[in-house]
Amino acid sequence: MTDPAISVTDLSKRYGTVTAVASLSFDLASGRVLGLLGGNGAGKTTTLSMLMGLLLPTTGSIRVLGEDLLRHRYRVLPWINFSSPYVDLPHRLTVYQNLRVYAGLYGVRNSRARIQELARDLDLTDLLDRPYGRLSAGQKTRASLAKALINHPRLLLLDEPTASLDPDTADRLRTYLRNYQKASGAGVVLASHNMLEVERLCHEVIMLRHGRIFDRGAPADLIGKYGRETLEEVFLDMARGRSQL
């Protein structure tokens, strides 16, 4: 039996008296996509930060492909990557230079070919020589995603991956992510406010409220459970406290 892409047990993060995330537990099998849903301040970004090792949890454990992230951080990090609109790449470096740097940090062999491949897939070929700081918001999102895929991650963490993309580009990106996930067998954790995106990409959803798991399940199951038409309606019920079953 293979280890889950990620296994989280009793994960909590407290800042003084404020609890950002409380008692979060879940497993994600390789080749599956897990969505984290919740309003602003629900704990999505805090959770992702802990999963990528940038934030130390107050309690709990995180195992990635069977390895303890907190104890063997540097053994695990080469298998992970992430994209977030809250973290930039150096503005003065070109897209190509940025990707070269990260290919070096992740030890990617034949980085030139990998960058060309990603540039082709993410429609970045004409932007490779442009400084990252001069890209539009949507172009930055694609460049950041290229960085997130540079090392063929076995666990991909995505925070609002289609934020600031136009509907056409966002749709193509979602198709690309789904194809990548199927072909690579990577586990993907996705935090998003875009309910259609979550419905389309995620096998399972965890709904967070005030840092705690409010509910979880397959998108279709959650919609059925709450007697709603869409996941967005379920989300609104949760956000507005109308979902007492």
Binding site: Y15, L54, L55, L77, N81, S84, V87, P90, H91, K147
Partner: protein, 264 residues
């Protein structure tokens, strides 16, 4: 009237910035004070030693050039680290397999290169304009250079750590820190000119031994191997402390979630 209100609002914004950052407040008085202190000591020394300049015409130039090594070395670590904060890139870096001490190693390397280029150019200018060939110090110059740049790295790591802890509001420490020890380092005068209490502090600074060795070499053509070894030994301790501060603040940043949202 509307214009005045907007100007007032912006003044308020800058006052908020100042109030929220103790390094910026300290900085208001810092530079003038340090300049007066440094040149005051030099003036006092020259009053009593008028033959100082006559004995070795290049000594001030050599002191300025070597001081620049420490200054550039420190900036090469701290300011280059700040670039990652300016570009909000720290999260990407530390979610990658990059270790904090590896980043420190990269910063040392780039600092060495920047200092070699910068100080190398300055040394060439000193030769072209003032006919002062600092390289005639020979192998001793390498020992002076390495001791000073390593001391600069130690300070640079502490400054980077403080910025990790307090945010970019503390970035001016990059310039302030090095000038804080300038008067005590005996760059342009022997540390014997300092008040006794400050002499004790100066004996804990590698730079004081380096500049003392430089003057001995230029005035008396004597190599103070003991001073150079003392400087190296203290530097080992300081570099260890600098790394410890940097690694500790890095860990604290992971505890408090500062790696993703560090900024102004």
């Amino acid at each position: 009237m509307g214009s005045l209100r907007r100007i007032g609002a912006m003044i308020e914004r800058y006052v908020y910035l100042l109030k929220g950052s103790w390094p910026r407040i300290i900085e208001l008085a810092y530079w003038p004070t340090m300049q007066i202190v440094l040149w005051g000591f030099l003036s006092e020394y020259l009053v009593h030693h008028s033959s100082y300049l006559a004995q070795a015409s290049g000594v001030l130039l050599a002191a300025a050039l070597l001081w620049d090594v420490m200054f550039r070395g420190q900036l090469g670590v701290s300011v280059v680290f700040f670039e990652e904060l300016y570009s909000r890139n720290l999260g990407h870096l530390f979610a990658s397999p990059l270790r904090a001490y590896e980043l420190a190693g990269a910063l040392f390397t780039i600092s060495l290169l920047r200092t070699l280029v910068g100080s190398g150019m300055a040394a060439l200018f000193a030769y072209w304009f003032y006919h002062f060939p600092i390289w005639e110090m020979g192998v001793v110059l390498a020992a002076l250079f390495m001791n000073l740049i390593v001391m600069g790295w130690s300070i640079g790591l502490v400054v980077a750590g403080l910025v990790l802890r307090y945010g970019l509001g503390a970035e001016n420490l990059a310039w302030a820190a090095i000038f804080a020890i300038a008067p005590l380092s005996g760059i342009y005068y022997p540390i014997s000119v300092l008040p006794r209490a400050l002499q004790v502090v100066a004996h804990g600074l590698p730079a004081a031994y380096v500049f003392s060795a430089m003057r001995a070499l230029m005035f008396h053509h004597v190599v103070l191997y003991g001073s150079l070894w003392k400087a190296a030994a203290i530097n080992v301790v300081y570099l260890g402390l600098g790394l410890a501060v940097f690694l500790r603040t890095f860990r604290d940043a992971r505890v408090h979630g500062r790696l993703l949202n560090l900024g102004e």
